[in-house]
Structures are given as C-alpha cells and as structure tokens.
C-alpha cells in the first residue's frame, strides 16, 4: 500500500492542474498563484501553488478522491491530513532555498524517506529490506504537462523546469470545515511546485530575468475555472539607500508582509484583471537589477545545519550533526529528531552534544531503540543553542552485517540514512534589526516579545549515504566452496597429524595368507617366513 501511494500521487501530479481546467466537478473552487523571488545570488525562485477545494462528502475509512482520470488514496483515515512532497514539506520552506543551508533531496530518496522506507522497517518481516521494495521513480518521467492549457500552468514546460538548480513538489490534502460548527467538511488539495532558476545555467551568467527567459512562455489568459489567479514578485529592497530591483510592467498593487522573519514587499499581477492581459495579449514580467548583486557569499540564516558521517573503514563510524545558531545574541531551543536504520547500531552512551567547547545537556531526550528488521532507532532531543555558536551532536555506530539476501541490487552504492529533522522557533530578522526599532512606534519597546519576534522553521538536513560491509557477490559459491574445502581438508589432516600419537605395531601372528604359507613351508621342511 505504501508502495502504491507515491505512484498514485505522481499520476495526480501529472494530470492534476490540467485536469482541473478541463473537467467540471460540481461545486469546486480553484485558486492558483505564482510567487517569483529574486535571490541575492542572482538566481530566481518560482513557486507555483494550486489550491483546490472540493465540497463533497467522502468515505470515512480510506479516502478516495477521484480527480478526473487520476486518483489518490489515503490510508491514514479520513480526518488526518495527507501530505507528501518530493522535497521536505513546503510549509517549512516557504521560500525555496538556493543557498547551501537547506538541502534539497532527490525524488527517489524522498519518496522513500517520506513514504516507503520509513514505513518499511515497521512493516512485517515479510517485506524485504532494501530499496528494491521501494519503487524507484525515474526522474525524467516526473513531470509531463501535456494537458496544461490555461492559466499559470501554461508556464510549466518540462524542459525548462529541468534546467533548474532546485526542484521541489508537494501534495497536501486536508479536510476543512465548511461552516463554523463544522457539521460538514470539504477537502482541500494543495499542489505546489518550487523551482530555482540558476543564473549560471539558465541565465547564461546574466542576472536579468523575464518570464519568457525562465519558462520560454508568457502568460496569455487566466484559467477560466480559477477564482483567483495571481503572480507575486518579491521586490523587497535589500539596501536602505535605493531600490535594487525593477519590474516591468509596473505593478498595479503591492502587498507587504513579514515572511520568515523578514519584511517583504510583493508586486501583484492579477490575471483576472482584464486590463492586465488585454493590453498586450500577453504578460511577460521582467526583472532588472539596477545594481547587479556582487559575487559574494550569500547571507547566512540564523539557523542552519549540516550532517555527515565521520570515520573511515567498514566497522565503525560516527553520525555528526552540526547545528549553527548565527544570531548575535539570542539563544533558542531546537527539537532534533533522528531516525536511523537498525543496521547502523547506535551506541547511545557515545552521544555527545557540545557547544562552544562545553558539554550541552539536552533538556529532553526520547530514545526508542531499534529492533532488527522491525523498526529503526528513534532519537529525539530538545537542545538549547547558545547565541552565535556551533553545536555538534555526535553518536557512534557500528555497521551491521546484513544477511546476504537483504542487500539491495546495488549494495556498493551504500545505504541511505534519512535526514534529521530540526524544528525551531527562530528569532526573526525584523526583531534583530536596530534600524527597524528606530522607525517603529515608541510603544513597540513596551512589548518586546511581540508576535512577530519568532517564526517557526522545520529544517531537514541532507540524507546520508553509508557503506556497509559488502561481500563480493560476483562469485560467492566457487570462492566459498573452494576455500571451505581446502581449509577443511588441510586443517582436518593437519589436526589429525598433530594430535594423534602413532605406534608401530609388529604383527604378532601375521595374516591368514602368511599362516597358510607357513603351514605349507613346514610341510615341505623349509624354515617359515
């Protein structure tokens, strides 16, 4: 069942948005949105979101949602939301990161990690371990938007999307109350796609962008079924002195909000606004940098993490997670969740957490040991990160020898260890900037811990690839048989020789033949033998 799910979801992804524009479900609403964020490095992030609300009662046990020709199944029961993504879920990453602090994952590893692999070890013994039980989805077949015809989905052109440096898609389904008393519920389907266009690959080194340059298409018309169809462009000024970015055509309205602790300004283009498209028959939004960003290291976020395997050799190793708090003066707690497969046997007594050279005692630890072939290790800790520090969490492990049928078809590739999950309330940039204090009303200082001072972040570290001791599968039989035979024969006889004592025994009477011969000899009068 777990294996079927990603496939079904994929089908959904393939047909989803287009299907909505063509089919006419009864009481249905669709909102679509594209957010374009120019990044300081010169890259551009584009996030599509299609949100559908479906007002129909569904079965309570096992949810089937029929979406034209595609369907998705939730095994979790009707009241629980279902979400999956080909990167870590996007609610934690409202901005697709192009910086090295948040790590994208491949489709294969994520679907495995999110759905398959994590469920696999809790599955009964009959399920063979290894990635063979997990459908490996070839990347090229991930997106083919042949059904898309109108609205924002016009921009989804596969060959352009595969020239991007980052790529994430997600599906969320959740029940929403139809009225205040929640007597009946509707279902909301949210599909998101985030891509980051690379200035070096797609932009050929230039940092000015347009819709055509990114997607090789322009917007021509809104989706007729959409009740909302908008494009947002992040035009936040990074420097105080002057604007760094210019958009063309000039936006009709702008929108301001605090996103992830920073104040952002967005230009809004509403496709349903007929004047917007009718003027020129198409809308090609252009971004121009007034002062091109310098080649410098991108700004560092307050919380980022790094994870790696240390040590060498195939017997032991160490899992290390580095947690960076770069905030100049505020400490904050982080909830760290690690699930480690059973074949890495963790030594919990070696768990060390150090910050600034001192031991850091977690305020909460939950550890659930692994059971071979049944469940992975689960380690959850609440760690306080001191201001401006690097905290290292490390734990040693021993690599287990698997049964020889348990290896994957490509055992020398290594085995994946799923990412650790960090959840934290991070102090926001808005509260950290003294400039903002100057401009804000004086009474703000009376309530220093306002609502906007923290924001929630869930970070996923990179997945790890760990090599296990692997036998040579190319010739198991002849090698094993030959060595066993040789060892048995040589060892057996040498052991025999070394332990046995030998006596030379003179035959007292001799054999039957000899006795017979002697009888004859005696008869003949010849001396016996």
């Amino acid at each position: 069942m777990a294996a079927a799910m990603p496939l079904a979801l994929l089908v959904l992804l393939l047909l989803g948005p287009g299907g909505w524009c063509l089919a006419e479900p009864p009481r249905d609403s669709l909102r679509e949105e594209l957010v374009i964020t120019p990044l300081p490095s010169g890259d551009v992030a584009a996030t599509f979101q299609f949100r559908t609300r479906w007002d129909s009662e569904l079965q309570r046990e096992g949810v089937w949602i029929n979406l034209g020709r595609s369907s998705v199944m939730s095994s979790q029961g009707s009241s629980a939301p279902l979400s999956t993504s080909s990167t870590p879920p996007t609610q934690s990453l409202p901005l697709p990161p192009s910086n090295p602090w948040v790590w994208p994952m491949t489709l294969t590893t994520t679907f495995c990690a999110m759905l398959c692999c994590r469920g696999r070890w809790s599955a009964p013994k009959t399920s063979p371990p290894g990635r063979s039980s997990c459908p490996v989805v070839p990347r090229a077949s991930l997106i083919s938007f042949h059904l898309l015809q109108a609205g924002l989905s016009v921009l989804l052109k596969a060959d352009r999307l595969f020239h991007t440096s980052y790529h994430s898609q997600a599906v969320h389904i959740r029940p929403v109350c139809r009225n205040a008393r929640c007597t009946s519920i509707s279902w909301e389907l949210r599909q998101t796609l985030s891509v980051v266009f690379d200035a070096f690959i797609t932009g050929q080194g230039k940092k000015d962008w347009s819709l055509f340059r990114m997607f090789s298409r322009t917007l021509t018309e809104p989706c007729p079924l959409a009740s909302e169809s908008r494009v947002y462009v992040d035009i936040t000024t990074y420097n105080q002195d002057n604007e760094t970015l210019e958009v063309h055509p000039p936006p009709t309205t702008t929108y301001q909000d605090v996103i992830l602790g920073t104040r952002k300004t967005y230009a809004i283009y509403d496709l349903l606004d007929t004047a917007m498209i009718n003027n020129s028959r198409n809308l090609n939004i252009q971004l121009k940098w007034k002062r091109p960003p310098e080649n410098e290291a991108p700004p560092v976020p307050f919380l980022h993490a790094q994870r790696y395997v240390s040590g060498y050799g195939l017997q032991k190793g160490e899992l290390s997670t580095l947690l960076y708090n770069t905030h100049p003066y505020r400490a904050f707690p982080v909830l760290l969740l690690d699930t480690v497969p059973w074949y890495l046997r963790l030594y919990v007594h070696t768990l060390t957490i150090t910050s600034k050279g001192k031991e850091n005692k977690p305020s909460y630890i939950h550890y659930q040991p692994a059971q071979d072939r049944l469940q992975p290790h689960l380690l959850e800790m609440l760690i306080q990160l001191p201001a401006n520090s690097v905290t290292k969490v490390s734990i040693q492990f021993e690599r287990a020898l698997l049964k020889w049928t348990e290896y994957t078809p490509d055992p020398n590739h290594g085995f994946y260890v799923s990412p650790s999950v960090l959840s934290a309330l991070v102090p926001s940039m808005v509260a950290a900037k003294p400039v903002d204090w100057e401009e804000s009303p004086l009474f703000n200082s009376l309530f220093p811990v306002s609502d906007g001072s923290n924001y929630f972040v869930r970070l996923y570290t990179e997945p790890l690839l760990v090599n296990l001791p692997t036998p040579d599968f190319s010739m198991p039989y002849n090698v094993i048989c030959l060595t066993c035979t040789v060892v048995a024969v040589c060892y057996g006889s040498f052991y025999n020789l070394l332990t046995r004592t030998f006596h030379i025994e003179e035959p007292r009477t001799g054999g039957l033949a000899k006795r017979l011969a002697n009888l004859i000899r005696r008869a003949r009068g010849v001396p016996p033998l």
Binding site: P100, W103, P104, M105, T106, T109, R139, F162, H163, T164, S165, Y166, H167, D198, A199, F200, I201, N295, E296, A297, Q306, Y308, V309, S310, G311, Y312, E318, S320, D410, P411, N412, H413, G414, Y416, E462, P463, L464, L465, V466, N467, T470, S474, V489, G492, S493, F494, N496, L497, R500, F502, I504
Partner: protein
C-alpha cells in the same frame, strides 16, 4: 593426507625432505624469482578491460574549450602567488566564486616531529581552498574530487589554471548527478591530509586544522592533477598510494580509454620489466606517490595525472588534457555504485596490461616455501635428536634472545624521535641528522647483541639451542613476510628475495665471516640501500656511492617522517617486525 599418517611412508617422506632439502630450497627460490620475471610476458599478463558497466563506452562528447582561459588563470595564479609568497587564498576564493562555485577555506597547522630537510619545513601552517559545484536537483549525497596539490615552489600553476577553467565549464552543464569538489591544497600532501582528515572528521596524524564548513557527501572518486607547463608531451599516471594501496583498476582503465580517444600519449615510466620493477619499488616504499595516495585510506578511488614535458616533437595543449579530464568526470558521474567491479590488487608491466593477484602470488609463495622447507628440516632434526635425549634440564635457550631483540626493535622505533633533543644538546648535529644517526647507531648496536645474551644461555645442549632458535626465527619470518605480501605484495616480495636465502643459510658452523657479511648485506636497511641504487639504475640515472649514501640517509628521515605525518607503516614494520626477526638470525650465526 593419508600419506602423512602412515608411519612408513611418512618416514620415507621425511627422509626425502631431509636428504633433498638443499636442492629443493634452491629450486624453490629460483622458481620464485623466475616466476616473477615471467610476469612481464603475455601468458601471465592480461590486457586490461573495463569491468564497470556504467563506464563502459566512451560515448560522451567533450566540449571543453577553455584552453586560453586556463592559461590566463594559470598566469594570474602564478603572479599572485609570487607576490604573496604563499597560496593566494583570497584570489582563489574570488575566482572560484566568480565561476559559480560554493567556496570554503580550511586552515591547518602541523609541527613535524623533526625538521624535514628535503622539503625544508618544520612548523607548517597553510590554507586549503575548495569550491563545491552542487549538482542541480540532487541531494549532495555523493561527490567527486579534482585536486591540485601546491607545494612551496611555484610549480603546478598550470594545473590550478586548468582546474579553474574546468570548474567554469562544468558549472554551465546540467547533467551532473554528483557534486564536484575542486580542491587546491597548500604544502602538497600535508594539505591534502589535513583536508581529508577534516572531511572525515578524524585525527590520525595529530594535524591541527579548522573544521570544514561545507561538505558534499560520500566521495566516490578523486583525480589529482600536476602540470607545470602550458604544453605536455605525455601524461604520466601514478597509482601507488599510501602503504602500497592501489586504486581500482577500472579508474586506470577509464583514464587510458580517454587518452586513446583523445589521441593523448599516456605513459607509465619504463618499458616491460623496467616498468614492473619500478612499480614494485614504488609500491614497496609504501609512500604516497602523489596526493591521490592519501585518498585511498578512506576508500576513495584516486590517481594522480602528471604532465610530462620532454623533448619530443609532438605536444598537446591544456585543451587536450582538459578534454580527457572532462570525459573521465562525466563517466564517473554516471557511476551508480562505488568502483568495485575490477581488481584492487594488481601489478602493471604496462599501461594496457596487468597481472592479477592470482598470477603474481605464486612468486612469493615459492620464496616462502624455502623457509617452510628449512623449518621442516630443522623440526625433524630436532625431533630425531629429542628422541634419544631426555629433557636436558634448564632453559632450552631459544626464547632467550627473543625479548632483547624485540626490545632493540622498540628502541629503534621510539628512541630516534624521542631522543633528538638530547642528541642535539650533546653532539654538534641538527635534529634531522640526530634522528638519522641515532637510527643507524641503534641499528648497529643490535649487532652486538649476541655477545650480551651468551652469558645467559646455558651451553648444555649446543646444537639444539640454535636449531630451536632458528626454527622459531624461520617461522616468525615466514609469517611476517606472508602477511606483508598479502597487503603489499611488492614489499613482501622484495624483502623475501633478499632475506630468505641468508635466513635459510644462517648457522653457527662453516664460513662464519662469509655468512655474517651476507646477513648484513641482506638486512632490511641494506635492502633499502640496494633498492635505492636499483631505483636510480632503472630510471637511467645511476648513483655514485656517496650520492647513494646521502640518498639513503634522506630516505631514512623521510620514512620516519612519513610514518608520523601520513601514517605510513613501513618504518614501524621494519623496526618492530623485521629488524628483531633479522637479529634472531644474527644470534643464530654467533651461537656458541
């Protein structure tokens, strides 16, 4: 094996071994040497072939055309380096960032155990610069490394130029599935060691370095590049790594395939037997021949490409070298698993031919058989002698010289480095000289050992004593050589060739001075000296005696240094294992 449990036939066999022992030993030794020499010829060598399916064909179109860019980078690098006198870290950072890499630096420092006179360094501190090309839409779980080691002199700037130009070219491509790390290290191998230890977060050699800020998952393969001219006549490839480790043969095959495709001349030094012997000597030395050698400890398949610019007419420019590298990286990018299909243990009599482990092991097997035969003979003699005698009372002797000789070995291992300051205070020598001279002094002092142990040993059973000691020594030597040959065939074979005959001959009767001379000539240190002469002879640059001696002293210092800086095992192996064992034979020879 019924043969051995039947007493009559067993006695016959024993008589055969006893009577024909000497001819059998000679035959076995000659067979071993002959087998090794025969390894150069076709029935024993095979043509190399690619085993890894993912790298099967060379169907990639190399598009690298940044020859001018590489040369410009190289010029700038050389100029900046000359100006600053060290690795121009800031310039490298800026340039790497401008070609679109994610750039990090790592500073390291290391105080060597004693001054390194060959490289003129003692307190070393430097900075490594590396840039990571993140594979688009991938998860940074795997990576490849292209590294350029920069020494103290200003060579290798063309390699840095080519590295940067390749980085710029690679950055524009969309097909990468593995991250690529472009690493420039300072103080050549020391920098590489510091980076590798920090990358794997281990500390094996006492290096002090700052932790790495950026990582790129498990390294699958690495290529080190050494170029010192804008044009090359050929590319030399070095495979021998630390402690004689070799990379998977497929990596070498890959390199060779792309050389052939691009019409590039790729070479191993020498021709036929000369190549084979050079490789054996290089592998036996256990030192990394290029910065790739340090990667092998972490199970990263790696090799070094060295540009040679000789007087040949036809030359290749950086584009040709760049194309070969591009092809290799694109193929390595295709790898689904670590390189594991082909051989890890092989000898190379040429670039396109190899000898697998199954074919070269008999050579050392025959040599070790000599020791086995000799030990069997001694055991039988002892057995027969023991039949007639009662237990002679008192200690039987052979165990007495064992602890002193092991202690000598331990002193040889520990004292030179530990006592260098004492030596410099009392004698007019520098630290490095002090270490080498102490080494030689302790080594020679071991030869006086028999006279000291004699007083302890009882003289009740004159023959049994030395025979038992020799039996123990033979078995000890055979075990050691067997183990060494399994991990580093070349070293095992080289030591077996020299040590086996005299070990078999040693006895306290007969022409003792001749035996003593032979034994000294085949001691581990003399083997090292002889190897140096052979090495230079094979490189067609013969040594005079004085030069040889100087080189020998330098080699001793290097051996000790490499043990401390990279963890090379040759020095402890010789001082703790083979030297004490050799002393046992010396004891046998001077048994009274």
């Amino acid at each position: 094996m019924g043969l051995l449990s039947d007493p009559v036939r067993r006695r016959a066999l024993a008589r055969l071994v006893l009577r024909l022992n000497a001819p059998l030993c000679v035959l076995s030794y000659v067979a071993g040497i002959a087998w090794f020499l025969a390894l150069v010829f076709p029935p024993l060598t095979q043509r190399t072939y690619m085993s890894e399916n993912a790298m099967g064909s060379t169907m990639v179109e190399e598009q690298f055309a940044g020859g001018d860019r590489a040369r410009a980078f190289a010029r700038d690098f050389a100029a900046h380096r000359k100006k600053s006198g060290a690795l121009p870290v800031a310039w490298l950072e800026r340039t790497m960032r401008s070609v679109g890499l994610e750039v990090y630096t790592q500073s390291f420092s290391r105080k060597l155990p004693f001054p390194d006179e060959t490289h003129e360094r003692y307190m070393v501190s430097g900075t490594n610069v590396y840039g990571i090309l993140r594979a688009p839409r991938a998860a940074s779980t795997e990576s490849l490394v292209l590294t350029v080691p920069c020494g103290s002199d200003s060579t290798n700037s063309q390699a840095v130029g080519l590295l940067l130009a390749l980085a710029a070219h690679f950055r524009g491509q969309i097909y990468w599935a593995k991250d690529i790390v472009f690493l420039v290290t300072e103080h050549d191998l020391l920098g590489t060691e510091a980076w590798l230890e920090a990358y794997h977060d281990v500390n094996v050699t006492g290096m002090q370095s700052s932790p790495l800020q950026g990582r790129a998952g498990a390294i699958q393969a690495a290529v080190a590049l050494e170029l010192s001219s804008d044009v090359v006549t050929s590319l030399d490839v070095a495979v021998e790594g630390l402690n004689g480790q070799l990379p998977n043969l497929d990596l070498l095959n890959l390199f060779q395939t792309f050389c052939q495709k691009g019409g590039l001349l790729c070479t191993l030094q020498g021709k036929g037997l000369q190549t084979l012997l050079l490789m054996v000597l290089r592998q036996a030395s256990g030192r990394p021949h290029g910065s790739h050698g340090l990667f092998l400890r972490y199970r990263v398949e790696a090799l070094t490409l060295r540009g040679i610019n000789s007087f040949r007419q036809y030359k290749y420019d950086l584009v040709a070298v760049g194309k070969a590298l591009e092809g290799m990286f694109r193929k390595l990018n295709h790898l689904l698993e670590r390189l594991h299909q082909s051989f890890f243990l092989y000898l190379l009599p040429g670039l396109s031919r190899f000898v697998s482990i199954g074919l070269y092991m008999p050579a050392v097997g025959f040599l070790l058989l000599v020791l086995g035969l000799k030990a069997l003979e001694l055991w039988m003699q002892l057995h027969e002698a023991g039949m007639g005698l009662e237990e002679p009372g008192g200690a039987p002797g052979p165990s007495v010289p064992l602890p002193p000789s092991q202690a000598m070995g331990l002193a040889l291992y520990v004292l030179p480095v530990l006592g260098q300051h004492v030596a410099t205070q009392h004698f007019p020598v520098a630290e490095a000289e002090a270490v080498v001279l102490t080494l030689l002094a302790i080594y020679a002092a071991g030869l006086a050992l028999p006279h000291n142990t004699h007083r302890v040993v009882s003289t009740q059973a004159p023959d049994r004593g030395w025979m038992a000691l020799k039996l123990v020594a033979l078995i000890y030597l055979a075990l050691q050589l067997g183990c060494i040959a399994l991990t580093n065939f070349s070293l095992g074979f080289l030591l077996a060739t020299t040590m086996v005959p005299t070990a078999a001959l040693a006895k306290p009767h007969g022409p003792r001075t001749l035996y003593a001379a032979l034994l000294v000539l085949t001691s581990p240190a003399a083997t090292l000296l002889g190897s140096l002469f052979l090495w230079r002879e094979l490189q067609e640059a013969p040594l005079s005696l004085a030069e040889g001696w100087q080189l020998f002293l330098a080699a001793l210092a290097q051996g000790v240094l490499e043990h401390h800086t990279y963890g090379a095992l040759l020095f402890p192996l010789l001082s703790l294992g083979l030297y004490p064992c050799w002393l046992l034979f010396w004891n046998v020879l001077f048994w009274k």
